[in-house]
């Protein structure tokens, strides 16, 4: 399950070398993007909603301390136990302690990117607790023993035939079956037993409302509801940026979230948890794990506005052709490439460069995070930290030196054009990465500048 540390170009090249699979992956995600477009276009106030959401998030993040404490007070008044975790390990320990106190051996968990981020599953399993992921996609990647490749569609990289084989092996479904309806029904029956056996349920949190002290969890499968209603303990794990001030703000976010994520008007289940059921316990673990540091970064704090819809992944032409695992971080795609360097710049230095800066992510983002500008800003941080490849660094210094002088520029241009006139066999050498799949343009006999200098009088 461990990942981290990656060189995106290498993994991306490996992914794209399977052309048929790349095309399939690209199309599957583009289909989701198109569904999003349709759903967004159905609201005349879409852009206004985005503006409003961005403002609410900016306000919440600017007053985070107050809203977190307000949330804590109101949640405690409802009988919810609040825990604070500075790190992922602290979070895991808190969850483990709660489960240990109640001698829990089996726990069901609905989708939570935070618990992925903290590596909760291996932490609990090492201590003898079985964790069952109950979101269908999450269950698939759990059985495959790999991380999710997308935050909303965790198993989008897996084909239905492969799921058929996997379920045959783990659940005894018919060999060779690939009918999605049959496979889903089988997983549902299998999971139903786990729900009934579970002694505790863990969920993520989509929104935590400060004024009410309640948490909202959005799913399409109802698995968060079943997983919290059946067992007597509910542990909800949230990053501290999930806070919104008021209940009425939900109207903005719930309308944006599902439309951006999958093109649905709203998630099938938007469950509001307002305290423990009779005879049960409800815990909320509020996790920092690098978020305060991110909040302090002037150029990057707005990335904490993310509501984890995954729209930037679906629209990203690089993500669609390189797959989520090529990013080597718990959250892939543009938002992941912005979040990962905050955790470990050296390990994830290739991610800010895994983009053409086309800006599609920025325009699709429902909370208007300027993703492609943040990717560019992270490139500057990579350079400042001295982590840019030394060859590239030198090339940039040299280019800058050439371009500061019209004479040097002219000479360099002439030399480059001469070099391009070399016979093909020399020109397309192994060092010419451009030329692997692409021809260079034919070098013209003179530059525009040379032509203009000769013809200036005729042109003025």
């Amino acid at each position: 399950m461990t990942q981290m540390h990656t060189h995106h170009p290498k993994k991306a090249a490996a992914f794209v070398s399977d052309q048929a699979r790349t095309t399939w992956h690209n199309k599957a995600l583009w289909f989701v993007r198109q569904k999003r477009d349709k759903a967004a276009a159905s609201l005349p106030e879409w852009e206004q909603l985005r503006d409003t959401a961005a403002q609410i998030k900016a306000h919440s993040l600017s007053n985070l301390d107050e809203y977190l404490e307000e949330f804590e007070r109101n949640a405690q008044a409802k009988g919810i136990t609040i825990h604070w975790a500075a790190t992922g390990d602290e979070h895991n320990q808190i969850v483990y302690d709660i489960l240990k106190t109640h001698q829990v051996r089996e726990v069901v968990k609905s989708k939570s990117m935070l618990t992925e981020e903290c590596h909760l599953n291996p932490f609990l399993e090492k201590r003898g607790i079985t964790v069952i992921d109950t979101d269908l996609g999450e269950r698939i990647v759990q059985l495959r023993n790999e991380p999710p490749s997308h935050i909303v569609l965790p198993a989008i990289h897996v084909k239905k035939e492969e799921i058929g084989e996997l379920f045959h092996e783990h659940m005894g479904t018919k060999k060779g079956a690939s009918d999605p309806k049959y496979l889903t029904e089988s997983a549902r029956l299998d999971l139903r037993k786990k729900f009934l056996d579970a002694e505790a349920g863990i969920t993520g949190v989509n929104f935590a409302v400060a004024e009410t002290g309640s948490v909202v969890v959005c799913t399409n499968e109802g698995n968060a509801d079943l997983g919290t209603v059946l067992p007597p303990i509910h542990i909800a794990c949230m990053g501290l940026e999930k806070i919104i001030p008021k209940q009425e703000n939900l109207g903005v976010f719930l309308r944006l979230l599902a439309r951006s994520a999958t093109g649905q008007p709203i998630t099938t289940y938007s469950s509001h948890f307002n305290g423990p059921q009779k005879g049960s316990e409800m815990h909320v673990v509020i996790v920092d794990n690098g978020r305060s540091e991110l909040l302090s970064r002037k150029k990057f704090w707005r990335s904490l506005s993310c509501i984890r819809c995954g729209a930037c992944m679906n629209t990203c032409p690089i993500y669609r052709r390189s797959g989520g695992h090529s990013y080597g971080y718990v959250i892939p795609g543009p938002i992941g490439s912005v979040l990962a360097p905050n955790k470990d710049l050296a390990a994830h230095k290739s991610l800010p460069f895994a983009s053409t800066l086309c800006g599609s992510c920025t325009d699709v983002c429902p909370v208007k995070i300027d993703l492609h500008h943040q990717l560019l800003a992270w490139r500057e941080e990579v350079v400042k930290a001295g982590k840019l490849n030394p060859g590239k660094r030198l090339a940039m210094k040299l280019t800058s030196w050439v371009l500061q002088s019209p004479q040097r520029y002219k000479l360099a241009g002439k030399c480059a054009r001469l070099a391009m006139k070399l016979p093909r066999v020399f020109l397309y050498n192994p060092l010419n990465i451009w030329g692997r799949q692409r021809d260079l343009p034919p070098a013209p006999p003179e530059s525009f500048q040379e032509w203009y200098t000769k013809n200036r009088d005729k042109n003025s």
Binding site: S355, T356, Q404
Partner: protein
């Protein structure tokens, strides 16, 4: 109105005919155009690599070169965006920064917004696919991007529609990135080329005979793939169409 013609370095060196077409087009409109010979490059290669220290002297040189002009017009959205949107971090201290950063315009937006051109004396009786270059689209807002839900507009198609006989084809993905991305084209060569091939396939399925765009950099990448694979698609810069220098 004195116009400074800003020709991106790689257009100067590799595509002089595109620069000539831009000059011709502006002169056809009886504009007073000058090409300052001291110009080199906007500094984007360093900027997009995160080397802002290396952009600084190049940006200073650019501002010094172009500050005497009322407008600076450039046949590239990407280079225009560099000056307009990305000089603030490295060159806002320069004398002339405010003027140069606000008066630098991409060719099409200059024709539409400043000249408010109503007719174009050019014809091109072919099926043409427009490749929307991302920086022109999403940094300069030359058109509504497909992600946004406000009222549709496109300064570039507005101009192309004035060309006689032209038939603009409908692309399946009308503004997906071509995969050039500057150093991305080398650093992520595999993905870059796959993205380019997909754009080309989209133009071919739409029945385009000619592919055009506002940025020669995207077109250089796409044409490199087209030439290598022998695809039946001709690639021309929009200035060549508008100036009527291609037939």
């Amino acid at each position: 109105m004195k116009i400074g013609l800003f020709i991106p370095c790689y257009v100067d060196q590799l595509y002089p005919h595109v620069a000539k077409a831009t000059l011709t087009l502006l002169q056809q409109l009886n504009l007073d155009v000058d090409y300052p010979l001291a110009q080199t490059c906007c500094g984007q290669p360093m900027g997009n690599t995160g080397c802002s220290d290396d952009v600084k002297p190049v940006a200073e040189h650019f501002i010094k070169t172009f500050k005497p002009y009322d407008y600076i017009v450039c046949p590239s959205g990407s280079c225009t965006s560099m000056v307009r949107n990305h000089y603030k971090d490295v060159a806002s201290h320069c004398e002339g920064y405010d003027h140069v950063s606000t008066r630098t315009m991409e060719l099409c937006e200059f024709l539409v917004d400043v000249i408010q051109i109503k007719e174009i004396n050019a014809s091109l009786p072919y099926r043409v696919g427009l490749h929307q270059s991302c920086h022109g689209l999403r940094e300069l807002r030359l058109a509504k991007s497909s992600e946004r839900m406000d009222a549709p507009f496109s300064k570039v198609t507005q101009l192309l529609a004035m060309v006689k006989g032209i038939e603009l084809v409908e692309l399946d993905r009308k503004d997906e990135c071509c995969g050039f991305g500057g150093t991305f084209a080398i650093a992520e060569e595999a993905i870059s080329c796959q993205m380019g091939k997909d754009r080309i396939a989209d133009h071919l399925q739409a029945g385009a005979q000619i592919m055009t765009g506002i940025d020669m950099s995207c077109l250089m990448h796409l044409n490199g793939l087209i030439t290598r694979n022998g695809d039946p698609l001709r690639v021309v810069h929009i200035a060549e169409i508008l100036a009527g220098t291609i037939k």
